[in-house]
Symmetry: C2
Subunit: 296 residues, 2 copies
């Protein structure tokens, strides 16, 4: 699947001009519509679309469609995109208010309502009707929740690349050579799970032996090693500091081999980040270390 | 709704001991199960649960359930959690492989399969069967995508609090007084949308007039103002620098009023971050500035 953000403009007569795809490939417009942020709709929509190959989907998010007027405007916009593309649009809809979904359906699109199939079984199971609360999942938050998240993120930023070393308070310490994926993983863990994630960059000196650096030893249970394919590492470092010793393939191979030897000797759980998404790396860290945190 | 991470231990006989809830409130175990990261299952599950109030859900994520053995173990774990809690568990399942879902259903839980209701309509609409590709949505990524994301995040981190000022390359510049929510929003925009988000902290000097700081003027179309309730700001600052001038309510009121006046005079789109989630703030920034980026 190839997803591209929809790119259209209103032409001088107010009509839609959608960028055409490659010759012969039908571009199917997909809309993630929500009365809230649209994150739920986009998350499930994206997961669904990845299961269909050979198509080009032009995706567009329409958030905060929270009254009838906006729903009618949105339906109109979707209908016109379908006409311009010459194919029926797909709408992944997470509006909590069913009357808005009815208005959206007037677009003539294939409507996939992400809540509808699950509400009735849940109502039966819980013995109570659902509340029509718009956008609650990513909406109003209490101070405590917000604060925990921000604190975790500040922790990640101040403990990035071994700048501060209050490892006592860390939930996890990612250990790896430079540019193996520590920072984005730490930030993701903080933002989404409120996990206090520090990271420790292995220096040349650390890599001279296959034993853990002294100041990490007492935190053994919190350690998680990241490794990476040396060719990929070289590619990443090359973008950062072109044609330096740092970005030589030889350097990358040597550092990665030494780090992997250390992880093995010290029995540190390890994951290769090559070709993995930040989400996948983060999930593996959580499940491996048994950190049970609810996703924000 | 109150969601708490499930907290149980195996007792000496290998049975489950689930932390009991408050007297009289039944705690319902909820499992997000996936053959991938479980992010899709948890996202939609969380959205669904927020629509039912008056319950306590103990949530647990079980990721990477990608073979029959793991599915059987997971079903067993869910069944035992239900027995321990004295109520039927709820499973929000995003396994792509239907045979794994069948095994999970043997847990006796209420099964909510997040893909099942949508696959058939999509297959009919697209005229092709879906591929059984496990965990694609947050799984394998190409170098270009990963790189764009990491670059955006590095941009956010180096342009945090006006440290670097290559605003030319920024997609958006968040303008606000200290601690109004700029940094987490920038990081979120980078991580999830690959948006290059810089931020500019309004200094005392900037706030002496209601005109934009000189170096922001040429980037007017990229500016987005964040504001916040002064009482909330005081609460946040107090945690950071207790009993300082910085964290006095008077200071917060004055700064917020001056910033809001500037945003109004200069017609900068503005959002109050009070009680808003990072997701909601980020979505509003994107939709207001018309930044169409696909979510990672």
């Amino acid at each position: 699947m190839q997803c591209i953000p929809i790119a259209y403009k209103l032409d001088q007569k107010g009509g839609f001009v959608v960028n055409p795809g490659e010759e012969g490939v039908v571009v199917r417009p997909v809309f993630y519509v929500s009365d809230g942020t649209g994150i739920t709709a986009e998350t499930i929509g994206h997961s669904l679309l990845t299961q269909f190959t050979g198509f080009r989907f032009q995706t567009d998010r329409i958030s905060f469609v929270d009254d009838a007027d906006k729903a009618r405007d949105t339906a109109d916009r979707i209908r016109r995109a379908g006409i311009a593309a010459g194919t029926r649009p797909i709408v992944v809809n997470s509006c909590v208010d069913a009357s808005l979904s009815v208005l959206l359906a007037e677009s003539g699109a294939l409507m996939l309502d992400v809540f509808a199939p699950f509400i009735e079984p849940l109502e039966l199971e819980l013995g109570t009707p659902r509340q029509n609360r718009v956008g609650q999942a990513h909406g109003l938050v209490d101070f405590e929740t917000y604060h925990r998240r921000i604190n975790a993120m500040n922790f990640a930023l101040t403990h990035d690349d071994g700048i501060a070393l209050e490892y006592e308070e860390a939930d996890v310490i990612l250990v790896a050579v430079s540019r193996a994926g520590k920072t984005p993983t730490c930030v993701y863990l903080a933002l989404h799970y409120g996990v206090r994630a520090a990271n420790y960059p292995l220096t040349d000196q650390d890599l001279e032996t296959d034993r853990l650096p002294a100041r990490l030893r007492q935190y053994r249970r919190k350690l998680f090693g990241l490794t990476i394919d040396p060719e990929r590492l070289q590619q990443i470092r090359q973008e950062r500091r072109p044609n330096s010793t740092y970005s030589k393939l030889e350097t990358c191979k040597r550092e990665v081999a030494a780090a992997e030897a250390m992880f093995q000797v010290e029995r540190i759980p390890t994951l290769s980040t090559t070709n993995k998404s930040i989400e996948e790396i983060s999930s593996k860290v959580l499940s491996t270390l048994g950190l049970q945190r609810e996703m924000f």
